[in-house]
């Protein structure tokens, strides 16, 4: 690890730990939501930015995690902690199944199938309202007996940091190298003895599990699980955060999550315009700066001399 990276992490973490003692309840709430998006966008980036699989089911897997855990705790009285664990497993298994179905057919099929899958999840959730309470939303118990925003903040922070560390380790390992090779050139990778389908499947399953985890936590924080969690609108936000922050870089989606979530608090007054604004920014980024804010920043630090 580069020393600058370590310094950044240490400084960021210290700020994060003392933050709740300065922030109002409201901004603490914004921070918790941002941390949820950090988990989502980082894991989606691992999938799309490192293996080139544009999945539109990431929010759906978060929904699987949230509903599994929510329904278990509401109907069977299972502890939310155990529920979240089962949620992670369900998301991973569904991810594996879906991956087996469509990954061998290549990128476009994966995107279309995952899009279809999120729609299936949405339809099932809205229709099985005896169990999921449909669009009405399922009210779930919290993680603590006594509601505490600071408590939730630290849980979210700990999980987000843990996920971050795992992802960081992964992309700097031989697995990460393999993923990049698959992204760079699938045919060349497989001609070099890499089982490209396995690499993709592994990434898809792993990131689905993370989405399940993030969704489970999110549901128990809001204490309300609705079809909004697995919606395409949510999916767009995650995607926009990764694209704006910078796909294919570790820090990109983290930066993107905070920037967009905090920005959205400021432009909330513009109501329906704010999704449009995110969309336009994301579109401009994808078109003119595909490496996102991180790419722009790194290029700036390198100076303008470096062109090819």
């Amino acid at each position: 690890m580069k020393s600058s990276t370590i310094w950044f992490s240490v400084a960021g973490l210290s700020v994060a730990i003392i933050l709740p003692f300065f922030l109002s309840q409201y901004w603490l709430h914004v921070m918790i939501i941002s941390l949820f998006y950090v988990m989502m966008a980082s894991s989606w980036n691992l999938l799309a930015g490192y293996t080139g699989q544009v999945s539109f089911a990431h929010a759906a897997f978060a929904g699987v995690g949230a509903y599994t855990s929510g329904m278990l705790s509401v109907f069977l009285g299972v502890s939310p902690w155990l529920g979240i664990l089962i949620g992670i497993i369900s998301a991973a298994l569904l991810g594996l199944g879906l991956g087996v179905l469509c990954i061998r057919m290549g990128g476009i099929y994966l995107s279309l199938t995952t899009l279809g899958f999120s729609e299936i999840i949405r339809i099932i959730i809205t229709n099985e309202d005896n169990w999921t309470r449909g669009t009405m939303g399922l009210q779930t118990p919290g993680l603590f007996v006594e509601y505490s925003k600071t408590g939730y903040y630290f849980i979210f922070l700990a999980v987000a940091v843990a996920i971050g560390v795992v992802i960081y380790k992964l992309i700097h390992s031989e697995w990460g190298l393999t993923m990049r090779a698959v992204l760079n050139d699938e045919i060349a990778a497989s001609a070099s003895g890499i089982n490209t389908i396995n690499v993709r499947l592994l990434a898809f399953t792993f990131t689905s599990a993370i989405a399940g985890l993030a969704g489970g936590l999110y549901g128990h924080y809001l204490m309300l699980v609705t079809p909004d969690i697995p919606s395409l609108g949510q999916m767009f936000l995650v995607l926009a955060m990764a694209v704006i922050g910078g796909m294919g870089s570790f820090a990109g989606p983290i930066v993107g999550s905070f920037v967009l979530e905090i920005l959205s608090e400021y432009i909330r007054e513009w109501g329906e315009y704010h999704v449009l604004i995110f969309g336009l920014i994301a579109l401009a980024m994808a078109r003119f700066a595909p490496e996102g804010l991180m790419g722009l920043w790194i290029n700036k630090r390198k100076g303008h001399g470096h062109t090819n």
Binding site: S173, L177, R180, A181, A189, A191, S192, G193, I194
Partner: protein
């Protein structure tokens, strides 16, 4: 010397075009075999069939006594067949060292201790003359270097047979000389059998033990280099092409 790879009656069509038509071939252990023929003769398609990128419509390929039928490219590679591509395909957004590491990962699988692999990769880069490019991005090196990088990556997979597809295109005379040396070195030092496609006639005639000639999907001739150049059918195939 036993037979390392053997194909019988290999045929492959795309739509209405038969790219490879009933080809028999074999390569012996430790041989250097040249594969020549005019453009569109089906040479690269044959490579793609061997490495599992396509599967033949009819016919079967066996490698070291095992059939390759139904195997995926990565499985074929792990059996010991490595290749380079006519239109180069290095991993552009990775460093040259990382490119070679992928070959080693393909052979040995992912481990958590990459040090040993890095040592091996450096060694291979030394041999292929790429040592100075270790940290350069593959997209930033010259075409010739990219071709060498592909050879290095192929070598890293620890092959028994290596398929080289026009690695000498665009080289000048002394570079061709170097490349020929490298090919011999690969065979002698690494004990790797070589099947290669080349248009640089001088090099292929001088370096190959045996030459196979293809035209319009069919094998029209095979034999010692000097016998091949003297053959009427081979001359016609090439002349026919220049007429067109």
């Amino acid at each position: 010397m036993g037979i390392l790879i053997e194909g019988t009656q290999i045929t492959k069509s795309f739509g209405g075009v038969t790219a490879v038509n009933g080809v028999d071939f074999h390569v012996l252990q430790g041989e250097i075999v040249g594969l020549i023929g005019p453009n569109g003769a089906g040479k690269t398609t044959l490579f793609n069939l061997i490495t599992g990128l396509f599967s033949p419509d009819t016919g079967e390929i066996t490698f070291a006594g095992k059939t390759l039928k139904g195997l995926k490219p990565f499985e074929i590679c792990r059996l010991g067949i490595a290749r380079t591509f006519q239109i180069v395909r290095p991993f552009l957004k990775m460093t040259c060292l990382e490119n070679v590491l992928i070959g080693l990962i393909g052979k040995e699988g992912q481990t958590s201790r990459p040090q040993a692999k890095i040592r091996k990769a450096r060694n291979i880069m030394q041999i292929t003359g790429l040592a100075h490019l270790e940290t350069r991005m593959a997209k930033d090196i010259t075409l010739i270097e990219k071709k060498r990088l592909e050879v290095a990556r192929a070598l890293a997979t620890g092959p028994k047979l290596i398929l080289l597809d026009e690695v000498m295109a665009g080289l000048n005379l002394s570079e061709i000389q170097q490349a020929s040396e490298l090919i011999k070195k690969i065979r002698n030092d690494f004990n790797v059998t070589i099947l290669w496609i080349e248009h640089v006639m001088g090099a292929i005639m001088k370096t190959s033990d045996r030459v196979i000639v293809m035209d319009q999907g069919k094998k029209i001739m095979e034999g010692k280099p000097d016998a091949v150049v003297a053959d009427q059918r081979v001359i016609e195939a090439y002349l026919g092409q220049s007429d067109a």
